[in-house]
C-alpha cells in the first residue's frame, strides 16, 4: 500500500559556507579570509499527505527555497533525511523526477523561440513519453489551462500570464503526484492570478495532485492551501490549517458599518483605525480586550445602522504579524 505521506522530512538542515570579505586596502582580498557557516535550514521536520495543498512560506532568506530545492533534488542536505514520493531526492534524483513537477516562477522551462506545442514535445522526450500520449495529454492540458488561442505563437511572444499558465501546464505533462510551485503568480495581474488559482484548485480536486506552494502573495495561500507552514531563520515557526491562522495569531476583527444617515463623528473608544467615507465606516476591534458582542451592541445603541459586516483580519496582516513577532 502506498505511503499516505508524499513528503517526509526528518531533522533536515542545510549549511552554506562562505568566506567573509575583509575590508581594508587594495590588497585586502589577498589576505587569508575567514570561512563562515550560514545555517539556511535548521533541523526541521514535517510531513505532507498525498493530495494535500500546502503553503510553505516565510520572509526572504527564511530557508523556504533551500528546503524546496532539497526536496526536488537540486541541493544536498547537510544533515537529516527526506523522502519525496518514496524516493530520496539526492540518491534517486532521476527516478524522483518522474513523480514531481516543478515551476520556478522566475525561470522558464519552455523553448523560447518555438510555440508551446513544441515545448510539450520536448518534455515528452525528456520524460520518455510516447508521441501519441504526448499529443493526447497536451491537448487535455491546453484545454484545462486555456492555452488554445496562443498555442501556435512562439513563447517569446506570450504575455507573462499566458507564459505562466503554459509553464504550469507543461510541468503536468507527465502527471506528477506532487507539484512544487515557487512564486507561480509573481508579476501576474489580478484576473490572471484568479484564473490560475482556480485551475490549480480544480487540478488538486479532480486529479488529487499534491500542491506544495511557496509565495509571498497571501491571496495564493488563501485560495489554494488548506495548510500553511511558516519558516523563519531556517526553523518552522508555525504549522497550522490556513483558516486557523487568523484566530490564533491575530485577535483583530474588521468591522464595516453602513449608517442610515451620514454622521460627521463616529466615536467608539474600543474601535481603532476608524475610516469614514460617506455613510460607510470601517474599523478594527481587538477582541481579546473588548468582546465583539459588546462593541457591536454599543454601536447599535449609539448609531442608526443599516448594515454591519464582521470579517477576520486579512491573511496578509496575519502573516506579516507572524513574521514580525516570531
Amino acid at each position: 500500500m502506498a505511503n499516505s505521506f508524499i513528503v517526509e522530512v526528518r531533522k533536515l538542515s542545510k549549511e552554506f559556507s562562505y568566506t567573509e570579505k575583509i575590508s581594508g586596502g587594495v590588497f585586502s582580498s589577498f589576505k587569508k579570509r575567514e570561512k563562515k557557516i550560514l545555517k539556511a535550514v535548521d533541523d526541521i521536520s514535517f510531513n505532507v499527505a498525498r493530495g494535500e495543498t500546502l503553503a510553505f512560506i516565510g520572509p526572504n532568506g527564511a530557508g523556504k527555497s533551500t528546503t524546496i530545492k532539497m526536496l526536488t533534488g537540486i541541493l544536498h542536505p547537510s544533515e537529516g533525511t527526506l523522502r519525496v514520493a518514496g524516493h530520496s531526492p539526492q540518491t534517486e534524483r532521476e527516478k524522483l523526477a518522474y513523480h514531481i513537477g516543478t515551476v520556478f516562477g522566475q525561470r522558464s522551462q519552455l523553448v523560447f523561440n518555438l510555440p508551446i506545442i513544441d515545448s510539450f514535445e520536448l518534455f515528452g522526450y525528456i520524460y520518455g513519453i510516447e508521441r501519441e500520449a504526448v499529443k493526447k495529454k497536451s491537448e487535455e492540458l491546453i484545454e484545462i489551462f486555456d492555452l488554445a488561442q496562443f498555442r501556435d505563437q512562439p513563447v517569446r511572444k506570450l504575455s507573462l500570464g499566458q507564459r505562466m499558465r503554459s509553464e504550469i501546464a507543461i510541468s503536468l505533462l507527465h502527471e506528477p503526484e506532487i507539484i512544487f510551485l515557487d512564486e507561480p503568480t509573481i508579476g501576474l495581474d489580478i484576473v490572471a492570478k484568479k484564473n490560475l488559482r482556480k485551475t490549480l484548485t480544480n487540478l488538486n480536486k479532480e486529479k488529487g495532485t499534491t500542491i506544495f506552494l511557496t509565495s509571498h502573495d497571501a491571496g495564493d495561500i488563501e485560495a489554494l492551501c488548506e495548510r500553511t507552514i511558516i519558516v523563519n531563520h531556517g526553523k518552522i515557526i508555525v504549522d497550522r490549517p490556513t483558516v486557523e491562522l487568523s484566530n490564533e495569531y491575530l485577535t483583530d476583527k474588521y468591522l464595516r458599518v453602513e449608517l442610515k444617515n451620514k454622521s460627521d463623528v463616529f466615536e467608539i473608544p474600543e474601535c481603532r483605525d476608524v475610516v469614514a467615507e460617506d455613510n460607510i465606516v470601517t474599523m478594527k476591534v481587538n477582541t481579546k480586550k473588548y468582546p465583539l458582542n459588546k462593541v457591536i451592541g454599543k454601536i447599535l445603541r449609539k448609531y442608526d445602522i443599516k448594515d454591519i459586516d464582521v470579517n477576520d483580519a486579512p491573511l496578509e496582516d496575519v502573516i506579516s504579524h507572524i513574521y514580525e513577532h516570531r
Binding site: F16, M70, I74, K95, I100, Y125, I129
Partner: protein
C-alpha cells in the same frame, strides 16, 4: 484515490534499459533543438556570411602566398590548404564550443535548477540541445561552402570513395565529441571559481591555432605538429586533415588519439560532475 499512471519510457516501450531511455530523450531533444534552429533562416544566413568573409580573406591571402612560394608547400597544395581552413570554419559554425557559455550561464544564473529536476542527465541534455542547434547551422554552411569551393578551386586530388566518406564522418563526429567534453569540463569549473571564462579563452585560442584555422596542421613545424596531433586541441579538429595526402595512412593514429582523449575526458567529467552537483548553490538556496 487511484493515482496517476506513470508514463515513463519503461512503461511505454517495455524496457527497463536506462541507456535506451537516455538515448530516446537525447535524440528527441536534439530533434526539437534542430527544429528551433531551422526556424531562424536569417540567423543561419548571417552565420554563413560571417564564415564566407573569414574563408574569403584566407582564400585571398593563401592565393597570394602560393603564387610566390610555388605550387606545393610542405607537400600541401593551395587547394588542400583552403579546403582544410574551410573545414575548420564549417565545424566552427556548429558553435559547439559555446557549450561552455550554456553551462556557465546555467550555473551562475541558477537556471540549472530547471534541468536537474528532470529525468535526464544534465550534461546529455545540454549536449543534445547544442548538437541539434549546431548541426542545423552546419548543414547549411557545409552545403554552401562545398558548392562555392567545388566550383571555384575544385576538390583536391586523391581517392574520395565511400570508405573515405565514412572515415571523414567518424573523425568529424569524434572531434565534435572531444569539443563538447573539453569545453564542458572547463565550464564545470564555474562550480568552484566565480568565472571560468579565462580558461575558456586559453583553450579556445589553443584550438584556434592547433586546430588549423589559419595554418593547416600539415604546414606546422614538426614539434608543433606533434603537439597539435597528440593534444586534445588539435584532436578536436582532425577533420581539417581529411584532404591531406597522408590522411589514409594516418587515419588509425588520428582516431586512436581521439578515442584516448574522449576516454580521458569522460573519466574526468564523471569525477568532476559528481562533485560539482554536491556543490551546487543557486539563488534563494
Amino acid at each position: 484515490m487511484t493515482h496517476h499512471s506513470r508514463m515513463s519510457l519503461a512503461t511505454y516501450m517495455n524496457t527497463d534499459s536506462r541507456f535506451l531511455a537516455q538515448a530516446y530523450s537525447f535524440f528527441g531533444i536534439l530533434k526539437v533543438s534542430m527544429v528551433d534552429c531551422l526556424a531562424h533562416p536569417k540567423r543561419i544566413l548571417s552565420n554563413f556570411l560571417v564564415l564566407f568573409v573569414r574563408v574569403g580573406v584566407m582564400f585571398a591571402l593563401y592565393a597570394y602566398a602560393f603564387k610566390y612560394v610555388g605550387r606545393n608547400v610542405n607537400g600541401i597544395s593551395f587547394e588542400i590548404a583552403i579546403w582544410s581552413i574551410a573545414i575548420y570554419f564549417i565545424i566552427l559554425a556548429t558553435y559547439l564550443r559555446y557549450i561552455f557559455v550554456d553551462i556557465n550561464t546555467d550555473v551562475v544564473s541558477g537556471k540549472i535548477e530547471t534541468i536537474v529536476t528532470k529525468p535526464v542527465n544534465y550534461l546529455l541534455y545540454r549536449y543534445a540541445l547544442k548538437l541539434g542547434a549546431g548541426l542545423g547551422d552546419m548543414l547549411f554552411v557545409l552545403i554552401a561552402v562545398s558548392l562555392i569551393l567545388g566550383l571555384t578551386i575544385g576538390i583536391p586530388a586523391g581517392t574520395h570513395d565511400l570508405l573515405w566518406v565514412l572515415e571523414v564522418i567518424l573523425i568529424t563526429v569524434l572531434g565534435m565529441v572531444i569539443t563538447l567534453l573539453m569545453y564542458s569540463l572547463i565550464a564545470l569549473g564555474s562550480f568552484w571559481i566565480d568565472n571560468a571564462r579565462p580558461f575558456f579563452w586559453i583553450v579556445d585560442k589553443l584550438v584556434l591555432v592547433l586546430g588549423g584555422s589559419y595554418v593547416p596542421i600539415a604546414l606546422f613545424p614538426i614539434a608543433i605538429k606533434l603537439f597539435a596531433i597528440y593534444s586534445p586541441f588539435g584532436a578536436s579538429m582532425f577533420a581539417t586533415y581529411i584532404f591531406n595526402p597522408d590522411f589514409a595512412e594516418k587515419f588509425v593514429t588520428l582516431v586512436g588519439v581521439q578515442v584516448m582523449w574522449i576516454l580521458v575526458f569522460l573519466i574526468l567529467i564523471k569525477f568532476v560532475f559528481g562533485r560539482a552537483m554536491k556543490r551546487l548553490s543557486v539563488n534563494g538556496g
